[in-house]
Symmetry: C2
Subunit: 217 residues, 2 copies
Amino acid sequence: MQAAFWTTVGLLCLTAGFGSTQKPQPCSSPPLYTGSMTVGTQDEHLWAVGRYSYDVVNQRMHLGETGTLNNKTFTYDALMLYQEGILYEINHHNKTCVKKPLKADFYPMEVPKGAEFVNQVVIGTLSGPGEGLLVNSWWGDMPDKQSKYFLSFTEFGCFPVSAFFKSKSLGGMVSVSYYDNVLGVDPGVFVPPPFCKDAKLEANKDGKETNYFSFFN
Amino acid sequence: MQAAFWTTVGLLCLTAGFGSTQKPQPCSSPPLYTGSMTVGTQDEHLWAVGRYSYDVVNQRMHLGETGTLNNKTFTYDALMLYQEGILYEINHHNKTCVKKPLKADFYPMEVPKGAEFVNQVVIGTLSGPGEGLLVNSWWGDMPDKQSKYFLSFTEFGCFPVSAFFKSKSLGGMVSVSYYDNVLGVDPGVFVPPPFCKDAKLEANKDGKETNYFSFFN
């Protein structure tokens, strides 16, 4: 994001009363959970909602999305098995399956190493039970050092809340909101559907993902 | 926001499981509270953080902001006394005060009449205590019918969480995040500082605010 935004993040650091006395520690999200996400780009070329299943124990993720990209609607269903190094792109409607090498390291959902604490806020209020949520925010340099990321996690449970960062392929800032997280996963979602059985491993031109952000790059 | 975003909001409506069985009712925020906000525009010309005190009983609001507008930093401190029809723009540093007529109706922080329920989500999770927050979202037509607003409130307590809408004067989509709300206000913040005593009522060219949104218009 550009200068104005980061200036404001700097202002947030100055105005955050919490941080100076009781600084939250970096955390990792739970090992197994299911949740929903909304992804949007600043230029509005991409808007999507999706559901994900996350398994850090066996290093796998299943992501189903639907949205609009350059004014065309799309659905995307991807099963990422990092230990096997395989990505399945699944089309349930046509019962077709594309099997690609997944060269990326599995990147756990956590506050990245080197991230700096920005602030702690309450969404809603702590004045009444069930009326507020403590959220910690962090920022740091993107792996290419060309920009910064801004990530928020819940103080209790360390569930992701939001992410902002720049994506090369999407041509600008990406905003991700996470919600409706539920502890635990249905392990069945990590089993490729029967029609994926005969899919042959295809060459993957852009399979050099190395971290959480490069999934969007 | 443009077509892609609203298409996605439509998708959200379809994918929201909650809404169909137990539809939340429109609500009004508490009558007296203090909170913080972050305001940003899509084109990044404006980013600001601020603190507000809100009093629906006596129809008054105090807003203090600092941020960047067109790459210049600014501070803005405004005391809005709707019953008296007066707006004070206060500069504490210079001890100066501008007193303007406030022709607007006081617009309470609530789900506007005619708003449609979009969905209910949990930020974080309900899997553990203190780890999640139930949030309801609503959309509707802006008063000029040229665009739509999108507002989120906490299910319990009805505190504002976020607002998206188009602003004429700011030239695009405006995003507002609300946080750190505390029930109650210090009534002293609604008393103009001593150096405002001699301020004369100035003509206000753009004092025709009529609702929550026109504050940004």
